[in-house]
Symmetry: none
Subunit: 218 residues, 4 copies
DNA sequence: CATGAATGAGGGTTCATTCAT
DNA sequence: CATGAATGAACCCTCATTCAT
């Protein structure tokens, strides 16, 4: 829902604007973000922002969609639907972690919606956002059961709920202040989280999910 | 860090104030909460709030501590340390869910801290808050392994991280707008979440964790 | 205009109250002074202050009168009316400087009245305060002229105006932030003003006034 | 330190704003001045004031500088440096008095800084403000002594201190409530001070200073 | 006479949004 | 399409004063 004007400006200007807006919302939160500061950082005038978007709320929703789209593209755009579910989950966590570490702010904008006082945004986006991953996971789980590679006694809905829940928890742990601290406390890490030292932990989460799915040997 | 004045007022007035403040912060979030509206709702004057607390920030931190304390007391105050870890986890999820459904707002205040723009609060409380559950879970896991009732090849830190992560996810799903919608989407629920219809789902999450811990039969 | 209550409390308590109130008004100015802080510093309750005085304004006026009285007593209580005007002026400057350096805050309260926004206080006290010194100086000048020790062509009113003006300027230079800085700048002083290093300058001012009065030698 | 915005508005609007702000600060003092009332009087919105200046403090400092500048320009912009010190002093008092009577509020803003509770402003401006006149007077006194038209036994620093002190006293007597009352009391004036009836008194002060400088005839 | 909790009008400042240029 | 000055409703917090105990 950007206005026409936003589509008419140069790609470079548009990208810079999106980048700075995302970064500012991530840093300060929705309420903490000042449209004036955003204008300054993005190198446009305050008036221009309102030529691009109807309101702060509108801008925020657009950024949510946009960033979710980026993340989706990074993950699902490179996911081969023929892979089995084990490979897909590994791919989702690996590509997802990589993307988040390179684009920390994108996840934070998404997580803003889950905060108290953001009910309007939750109502506007939660269903549509969650339906995508829920459907995908459920479909792949069903397929796996059919193929005999996933244990048949699993509750598909709940399993999908847990897998995606762990994914959210994981990326939140890579990108938000509180959950970063929490991760370091639980995993007893001393240094800041980076793509190197996170590898082993990531592997364990994936392994945990794989175990959850694997049929009892027999 | 309430001031002396807050300790000297009647228990009833104090409870009402805490209740209304928690409720308002839960509804509107930290930034959306207006001290004037709080005064009105709590039936005190604006000035009085500042006789009780130094600042909005100070009040918020107190409420976080207070509500976390309530939740801890409900869960750990009724937990028998002699129970094995399976029983303890069951207890934590059951008592926790019950408490949250009766006191939806308390969790929401905690979750506020995890939001973008709340870094100051995250820094002030994350370590101290998370250390408690992290230590408890790790201790019980180690004990379980020693007793031979938990599989010995588990990574204790990561397992604790996952168990508590699922707990956070679960109670968030019972109390915040976004995660309530998400839960209903994943679990394909039509009615509002309540203590009755949540029972079966809760049991599955507990069962998932139990499976994760149980040693391979031999 | 303190209320009866103020007269009934112990001399010690009353003195401490006056001292702390004077000190606080001197430090923060009339508007900057917080009755709550005053209560704390003086070791009484806020309610008590209003048992002693009708209002902040009332308290301030009382302190002005009280401190002016102290200063008058220190200077005029030790001044021998038989001294000639030269000796009297010397005495006023010396005793005044001594008193101010020992009781910096008293002068500051007086000077508050001369500030913008304090018109109400100026109207309440300026005439009565200034009449005293004006009358005294004019009387002594007239006497001096009669005695032939003061030049007869002086304008008595203007001379009194100047002498007292220099006195005000001088004690302000010993007690208020701005005029202390000004004095150090003009007199090129490096160290803080104290009773030792001020002596020589004081002598020069007195000498200046004496010269002003002395009849041409003939 | 006005912001760019203040420089970009029309000269007329800017002048009106400065005039009204000066007038209000003069009337109510720094603490008594309400930014809302200022907005109303100046015909701008409260928000606009904060587009012009960072804060009330900042605005006040700017007004001080601005008004001091006006006064300096009126006095020193019309002073011929080739005049001897007697003529210069006469000029300073005459032009100064005229300026103050036409612009009463400007002096009052300056005098605000000398009040208790305004230490921050005193520290920010006293040295720079006083250095200008101190240096000028000292330079001219030294020159006068060299030329043989000023008595050689004068203490230059103290003499400058006294001359400028009398100037401050004089202009304060023309512009502030308290000192206006004091002047009328000392000089036994019945009517309000105006440029006509002040002439004779002004002449006497100038004459007093001239006498102070004139070498003993011989 | 002392206390200190309660009050609420205000005060300085912020900020999303508008609109004339 | 861009600009940035203008707006004014809010918002957090202060503080002189009151009054029940």
């Amino acid at each position: 829902m950007p206005k026409e004007t936003f589509k008419n400006i140069s790609e470079e200007k548009r990208q810079r604007f999106i980048r700075e807006a995302t970064s500012l919302f991530a840093e300060k939160g929705y309420y903490g973000t000042d449209m004036g500061e955003l204008a300054r950082r993005a190198g446009v005038s305050k008036g221009s922002i309102y030529n691009y978007f109807d309101s702060k709320e509108d801008l925020f929703l657009y950024l949510s969609d946009y960033n979710l789209g980026l993340s989706r593209k990074a993950i699902y755009g490179t996911l081969d639907p023929d892979w089995d579910i084990y490979k897909q989950i590994e791919h989702i966590f690996q590509t997802g972690a990589e993307f988040i570490l390179d684009n920390q702010d994108t996840m934070v904008v998404y997580l803003s919606m889950t905060s108290p006082g953001m009910e309007q945004f939750a109502n506007a986006r939660a269903v549509i956002t969650e339906k995508f991953t829920a459907d995908h996971l459920k479909r792949e789980l069903a397929k796996g059961i059919e193929q005999g590679i996933v244990r048949a006694d699993l509750d598909i809905n709940m399993t999908a709920f847990i897998i995606n829940g762990l994914y959210i928890l994981f990326v939140a742990s890579l990108s938000t202040a509180y959950f970063r601290i929490r991760l370091k406390e639980y995993l007893e890490m001393d240094e800041e989280i980076n793509s190197d030292n996170i590898q082993q932990h990531q592997a364990k989460i994936i392994e945990h999910i794989h175990k959850m799915l694997r049929p009892p040997k027999g």
